[in-house]
């Protein structure tokens, strides 16, 4: 009875296949260059292994396993990256891989390297468990013992007593890193959108997992999530419109359609007459990317999220997200829309000026260290945007160098913030930092170094970066922008110096915060920040050369 039925099903299937094969365009199986994709694949592989470890490794051993896995994965990916670079990918060989969807070219390799190093430092900060006083339940890290427990509730107390830990943060971070590696390398809007979501979604969750001040942390997560998904919706609709204009998601093909060099099809003949599609699409995609960058007027989330998120996560976001987002922004403007630069440059001028001025002025009024660093990161986004606007190779190299310099200063600064603590956790109010230089001269000196680097004082990496960016902008014909940049740097320098004066020249509060003794992890993270900050300030030439050598997009 069943045999004829099967036969019937088979013949129907073959008829259907024949009909489908006849006139629908077929999708060819993609050819993937696994070797060149290996940095991302290693990170994603480590993340998946981390999830499995979460399921199968006993609770006691999870912390060690996860930290080991995360660091090994990141180091492996970095080695793979170095091997690729030494084989000439990024400089001499064509970087277009995965059917042209991913471009492992110079800027992508450089930024991926920065992201991986920043992620290593961030994982070191995550792994710190010696800052809270040791109580029952064993050592404590910066993350809540159980994300689902109500803050202050009985379940949370029990979880703390039992010594639970949210070791999920390591795989989540690895997933975010994987997305960030893909984001600056994405050569079509589809890949870019997927990468954007892959790195955003874990970050939303990470924001909600602070051990102390969980209400603030959850609030930060809700704000980041709602605004972030709002911005990605803009990005998606913009991509749809650009696709409508160009008939393709590939950035080089969009550039062809803009320049009028694309092979004309019936669809293109209609759509390329409609500049509204192109301009609105460009605006919406730029909104999505500028949101991730934290540029004014899309900056509103930055201070709240930076303040509420657990400090190691804040450091990771501030450094790596900015690098990845600027990578994508550069690729969009330099690969897809160079033919349209007379349209986007004036708008970006306005955004850059607003970002620098608003970031610097609002930072002056802040009373919380984390919020202050958040506004400072907004101002820095403005400085980097001046390099983007330069639209020359020099500007591209300067932006790459600036991102390298900035990410380690910012990670180092947030690492210092994790150490200044009172009984309620981190003491982030500025008043409690008064006189820190007398209690703990070394830590205050390190923080002062980072602040001087933010301000762009010579002999620090910040100066080299700013100088390179402004020089490129001036060469690209944006002198007024440079003047605004220098003026807002001066305003910004005022509040950095104010914090330094507060730390060294005012009396400590009687019941002020204590400086926790960090374990080897935080010490390593801070030392790395100090070394990079001084190294790029004193001997920048090698890295400047590296950045300018990398500054060439593959089309």
């Amino acid at each position: 009875m069943s045999v004829p039925l099967l036969h019937g099903a088979g013949s129907v299937h073959s008829v259907w296949m024949a009909a489908a094969g006849g006139n629908t365009p077929s999708i060819p199986a993609p050819q993937l260059e696994y070797g060149q994709l290996s940095p991302m694949l290693i990170v994603f592989g480590a993340a998946v292994a981390g999830i499995l470890a979460e399921a199968f490794v006993p609770r006691r051993a999870r912390y060690t396993t996860q930290v080991g896995l995360a660091l090994t994965g990141l180091a492996g990916a970095f080695i793979a990256l170095i091997v690729l670079a030494s084989q000439g990918y990024g400089s001499t060989k064509s970087g277009l891989i995965a059917m042209g969807s991913v471009a492992e070219d110079g800027p992508a390799l450089f930024l991926q390297g920065v992201i991986l190093l920043a992620a290593v430092v961030a994982v070191l900060l995550y792994a710190e468990r010696g800052l809270d006083p040791r109580t029952e339940g064993g050592p404590r890290d910066a993350f809540t013992p159980q994300g689902s427990a109500t803050p202050g509730g009985e379940q949370e107390r029990q979880a703390t007593r039992a010594g639970f830990a949210s070791t999920e943060v390591y795989p989540l971070t690895l997933f975010a890193v994987g997305g960030m590696l893909l984001f600056p390398a994405a050569n079509d809007l589809l890949t870019m959108f997927v990468a954007l979501e892959v790195f955003s979604l874990p970050l939303y969750l990470l924001c909600a997992l602070a051990r102390r001040r969980r209400l603030l942390s959850q609030e930060a997560a809700v704000k980041y999530f709602l605004l972030g998904s709002f911005a990605s919706a803009f990005f998606l609709f913009g991509s749809a419109l650009l696709y409508g204009y160009a008939g393709s998601f590939r950035l080089p093909e969009i550039a062809d359609a803009v320049n009028g060099t694309a092979t004309t099809t019936a669809g293109l003949a209609i759509s390329t007459h409609n500049d509204a599609l192109l301009l609105i699409g460009l605006a919406l995609v730029a909104v999505g990317l500028l949101f991730k960058v934290g540029a004014v007027p899309f900056h509103a989330w930055t201070p709240d999220v930076y303040q509420g998120a657990p400090t190691p996560v804040t450091g990771f976001m501030a450094a790596a997200t900015k690098v990845a987002a600027f990578g994508a922004l550069l690729r969009l403007f330099y690969v897809a829309l160079p033919g349209l630069r007379w349209d986007w440059r004036p708008v970006m001028w306005a955004v850059a000026i607003l970002t620098m001025v608003v970031g610097a002025i609002l930072a002056v009024t802040q009373q919380d260290v984390k919020r202050l660093l958040a506004y400072s990161s907004i101002a820095h986004a403005g400085f980097i945007l001046t390099g983007v606007i330069a639209t020359n190779r020099q500007g591209l190299g300067a932006v790459l160098f600036y991102l390298l310099a900035y990410s380690f200063v910012t990670l180092g600064a947030f690492a210092v913030v994790t150490l200044v603590r009172d009984s309620k956790g981190e003491a982030t109010h500025l008043s409690s930092w008064a006189g820190l230089g007398r209690r703990s001269p070394l830590l205050a000196a390190v923080f002062a170094l980072f602040l001087l680097a933010f301000a762009g004082i010579p002999l620090t990496s910040g100066f080299t970066g700013k100088f390179a960016v402004f020089q490129a902008a001036a060469a690209g014909g944006a002198t007024p922008l440079v003047i605004v940049g220098v003026l807002s740097s001066a305003v910004a320098a005022f509040f950095y110096i104010r914090v330094i004066v507060l730390m060294f020249f005012s009396d400590p509060q009687p019941n002020g915060p204590a400086v926790a003794i960090p374990s080897v992890f935080t010490t390593m993270a801070i030392s790395f920040g100090v070394i990079v900050t001084l190294g790029l300030g004193l001997l920048p030439q090698y890295f400047l050369d590296l950045a300018s050598k990398a500054a060439q997009f593959t089309h």
């Binding site: 365009p25 999708i27 994300g147 689902s148 109500t150 803050p151 809007l189 589809l190 959108f193 997927v194 979501e197 979604l201 939303y204 969750l205 909600a208 969980r214 209400l215 603030l216 959850q218 609030e219 930060a220 997560a221 809700v222 704000k223 999530f225 709602l226 998904s229 709002f230 919706a233 803009f234 998606l236 609709f237 991509s239 749809a240 419109l241 696709y243 409508g244 008939g247 393709s248 998601f249 099809t265 019936a266 669809g267 293109l268 209609i270 759509s271 201070p303 709240d304 303040q307 509420g308 009024t365």
Partner: protein, 99 residues
Amino acid sequence: MNPVNYLYLAALLFTIGASGVLIRRNAIVLFMCVELMLNASNLALVTFSRLHDNLDGQILAFFTMVVAAAEVVVGLAIIVSIFRTRHSASVDDSNLMKL
């Protein structure tokens, strides 16, 4: 039917979604408005796919659905956790960090 009409519908849906995000207070409703914006993008993508006679747009539409599903998982987890703490999903109540 002229495919351009579908684009007008997509733009309308996108605008309704965007204004909803700006006007409404409840986190869940906000979230639904974001989903509406994503669906508007899908409609535009499929229309353009038809216009250009290639499949790229339809493929991104599938990716959008997957991403939207992943976003629901993450978003509802965050919203539910804050709801259990505060017994309210209004975004106006989340104001601990006001200056």
